[in-house]
Structure formats: structure tokens, C-alpha cells
Amino acid sequence: MSVVLQVEGLTKVYGTGCPRCLELTGDGAGTNTCPRCGSVVACAGVSFEVLEGEILGLVGESGSGKSTVLQCIYLDVEATSGHVRLRGHPGNVLAADRESRRELRRKRMGMVYQDPQRGLHLDVTAGGNIAERLLEVGYRHVGAIRTRAASLLACTEIPVERMDDLPRHFSGGMQQRVQIAKALANNPQLLLLDELTNGLDVSVQAQILDLIKDIQRQTGVSIVLVSHDLRVVRLLAHRTMVMKNGRVVESGLTDQLMEDPQHPYTQLLVNCVL
């Protein structure tokens, strides 16, 4: 199976940084803040690959750097260093020029944010939100746009008659589903999901998780799934990485990680699942 995403040595430091930042932070140091210069090492030396059709889980406590990894890959945040290769794109994604950056975000990747406000214009209709993505990839005919938007909303189980309503008037679960529809609009090869079931009640959570499973099976898209909930990861991810203080402390097949966790932090996580 071919590699869709390859990440090597991804590092993001917030602050001025000093030569000893990396050495004075991390798992051993028990902090992600450099005691010498006060910079925050959000993530450092993160390396992994995602195969075609694979779901990779990324777990860890709040502030461990999970979202930063996603945001660096999606080019929302400028990484300090590292190498990211995406299938079909020549060279380092992180070093791409402005034109190719836009191209990468429009055509090759889809992102679902934890907070729907970041991924959606709440005062533009659900259909309009999806149309924005479709226009970016070259759709021009209004009829074709509406047909495609309707089918995406149907796929994410939003009643088509709500297409012309504002996401502001939607429930949290529905907003999340509109975000998923929008992220899928450009047929991305890589889908980045950041805590997509946060704050939703369990039945809606279940619907969203089932939806992601179905979409993955139908489209074969590769997914990086960030969650602090081990149960979500166990349900969806083939392989899982555990992050703490900006570093990957353990990774493995999801069943290995659950049954035979090695790192103290992973053992703590597994033992804390209700």
C-alpha cells in the first residue's frame, strides 16, 4: 500500500527559542516550556506516515501538541522545522510557495476543526459554505454546485431542505456534519479531523463516528484523527500515536496500544478509560 502522508521531524516552537529548547523540554523534562527562554515547544521531532485508506489516531492530554501537528500539516500554522510529503506533491509541503499552499489546502487536504466556527462561515448558508470549496476547485455552474452540495449534505445526513439555512441556526452536531461535508467537497486524499466529537452528546457522537467510518470505507480517504478520547480512537483508528509534552511517546497498532501499553503515560490513559 502506498504512503499518502509522510511527516519527518515536525517541530513547532512558539516564542523566540534558544539552542537548548528541545533538550530542556519533552517527556524526560516533564514540560513543554523551555525553562531557559520561556518558549513553548508545542511539538518536536514528530515523525509518522499514513498509508492509503488508513486511519491514524493521535491521542494525548490537552496541550500535548496534537492539534499543532494537524495545523502544521494543514498549513494553518508555520512549522519551525520538519519535512512533510504528500503524495502527488513534489517536495516539502512545509516549504511550498503561496500558490501551491493554496492549491494543497484546496485540492488535496480537508480539515474538520474542533470548533465549527473555525471551519464554517456561520452566517453563510450550509450550501454556500460548500459552494465556497467547490468554486475553489473550478466549479462554475450553479446547478452543478447545488447538486454536488445536496449530495454531500445527504452523505452527511443533513436534510437537503436545510441547505439554504444558516449553520448558526444548526445544532452542534449538525454544524459538525456541515463541516465534514465541506471538508469532503474537493475529494481530498487526506482528511484531518481535530476532536470532531467534542461537546456533542453521546448519541450524536455515535452518529458522527459511524459517518466517518462509512465515508472512509466508501471513499478510501486517509485520515489523521486527533482525539483525547481513547474510545473514539479504538473504534476508528488502525494505528495510534500517543503524545505528551510535545513528543510522541509511543506508537503502535491500536490493539497493541490498548492491550500492551509500554509508556507510563499510555498505561495511565488506558487505565482511565471508563
Binding site: L235, L253, D255, Q256, D260, H263, N271
Partner: protein, 258 residues
């Protein structure tokens, strides 16, 4: 087919101050192609851990597990995770307990491993129906959720999931413990059929009847070590002369009630 050499597995529990449990100590044995190796031993002797190491759910601490896959010999103790995924495609693993996936019907759960291997939904479901029927799971349950099933019914789903891919190697962890006598006989017949088809099997059983009916050889584990092997001669081989089967219970009873 499988050669296990000096296999060690130690669990280190960091939450308990680094307490260590030595589950397997220098376990060595081999299984020929088409052979059925039974594994016996008291609870906690390392039987399940042994199977988990072979499937690489547990990561061995030392030793090697050489497996003759269809693509050549690999060491399951060492190969990278992504390779494990490939090798697992030719293995079937009946775990001790089914972990039911919420909101997935019995039929879809059984069909899933085939669908993961690219078989279309209709064929996979037809195959699943055939197996569940053979195992005697009432058809009225096929489209219900296994979360709600009895232990025995769940176990039938579990067995069907492992068999549906026609694996080359089948790992069985107490597959019949939760089943009634009639269902056990059905499972025994199905496993015998698989054996005739050339499937290699390693099976953990507490039930001696099943163990000696199915196994060509039995590996006895005691506190993580290989205590010995016994052959087809049957239950007469159990234990050593110095260790009659019920001595432990008899010795324990008085202290329990004093």
C-alpha cells in the same frame, strides 16, 4: 510453520511503581504445517499472552517467533507494525471474549474482515450467513447488535469472524468456554474440517475433552515456562505423577474455611 524460540514477555506496570510480571519465560516450541497444537495450563500460566505475542497484540520482551508466511519467513517479535498488518491478513484469531463494535449487526461484524480484504458486501454477507448458520446462531439474531447477545452467542460471532477469511493460521483462545455442549460439538466439527483443509492451529482450552479431541500435541505451560508436551494418548497424560490434578484445590480448601 511457526517456531517460537526463547520467548520472554514481561509486563512492567508503571502505575504500580514499576512492578513487573513475567508472563512468559524462555518459551520454545514449534508447530508444523497443518498441525493442531493445544495449549494447557492453569489460569495465569501465560496461555493467552503466548497467543497475543504470536498475533503481536503483545510486544515480546525477548526471543523470536518465526512464522512462515506466504511471502517468506518473518519474525513476529521484530517486524515493524505495518508489516504485522500484512501478516495478520493470513491469520485468524478467536479472542477469549468478543469486543462487540457498537451499532454494528452480527452479520456485518462477521462480514467485516472479508470486506477489509476487498470482497464485495453481498458476497461477504452471504459467506457470513453460511458460517453463522453452521455455528447455530439463530437467524433472528443476525441483524441484531452483538452488544446485547449472551456470552455464548457473542463467542459464535467471534469464531465466525476468525474463520470467514479462511486463514492459514488460526489462533484460538478458549473458543468454546462460553458454549453449551451441542455448540461445542459444532465448533469441534468445524475446526476438524479446517484442519483437514490444512489450516495450522494453536488452541488454548481448559476443556480437556476438546483439547484431546482436536490437538495433535499439547503444550503444557506453568508459570510462564514450558512444563512439557503430551501427545494424542489423551487425558491420562495430564499432569505429572507428583502433581495429581486436584491436589491444589484439596490443599487449599481447609485454609479457606478455617
Amino acid at each position: 510453520m511457526i517456531e517460537v524460540v526463547e520467548l520472554d514477555k514481561t509486563f512492567c506496570m508503571h502505575l504500580l511503581g514499576g512492578k513487573e510480571v513475567h508472563a512468559l519465560k524462555g518459551v520454545t516450541f514449534s508447530v508444523g504445517k497443518g498441525e493442531f497444537l493445544g495449549v494447557a495450563g492453569r489460569s495465569g500460566s501465560g496461555k493467552s499472552t503466548l497467543l497475543k505475542c504470536i498475533y503481536r497484540t503483545c510486544r515480546p520482551t525477548g526471543g523470536s517467533i518465526l512464522y512462515a508466511s506466504s511471502d517468506g519467513v518473518v519474525d513476529m517479535a521484530l517486524i515493524p507494525d505495518l508489516e504485522v498488518v500484512g501478516v495478520r491478513r493470513e491469520m485468524g484469531y478467536v479472542t477469549q471474549f468478543l469486543r462487540p463494535v457498537p451499532r454494528v449487526t452480527a452479520l456485518d461484524m462477521v462480514a467485516e474482515p472479508l470486506r477489509d480484504r476487498g470482497v464485495d458486501g453481498v458476497t461477504a454477507r452471504r459467506e457470513a450467513m453460511f458460517l453463522l448458520d453452521q455455528l447455530g446462531l439463530p437467524s433472528s439474531l443476525w441483524d441484531s447488535f452483538p452488544v446485547l447477545f449472551s456470552g455464548g452467542e457473542q463467542q459464535k460471532v467471534n469464531i465466525a469472524r476468525a474463520l470467514i477469511t479462511r486463514p492459514r493460521l488460526l489462533l484460538l483462545d478458549e473458543p468454546t468456554a462460553a458454549l453449551d455442549q451441542a455448540s461445542r460439538m459444532r465448533v469441534a466439527a468445524i475446526l476438524e474440517e479446517a484442519k483437514e483443509a490444512g489450516v495450522t492451529m494453536i488452541g488454548v482450552f481448559h476443556d480437556r475433552e476438546m483439547l484431546y479431541r482436536l490437538a495433535d500435541r499439547v503444550l503444557h505451560l506453568d508459570e510462564g515456562k514450558v512444563k512439557g508436551f503430551s501427545g494424542k494418548e489423551g487425558p491420562s497424560m495430564r499432569g505429572g505423577k507428583n502433581d495429581p490434578p486436584h491436589s491444589r484445590i484439596e490443599n487449599m480448601a481447609p485454609t479457606l474455611w478455617e
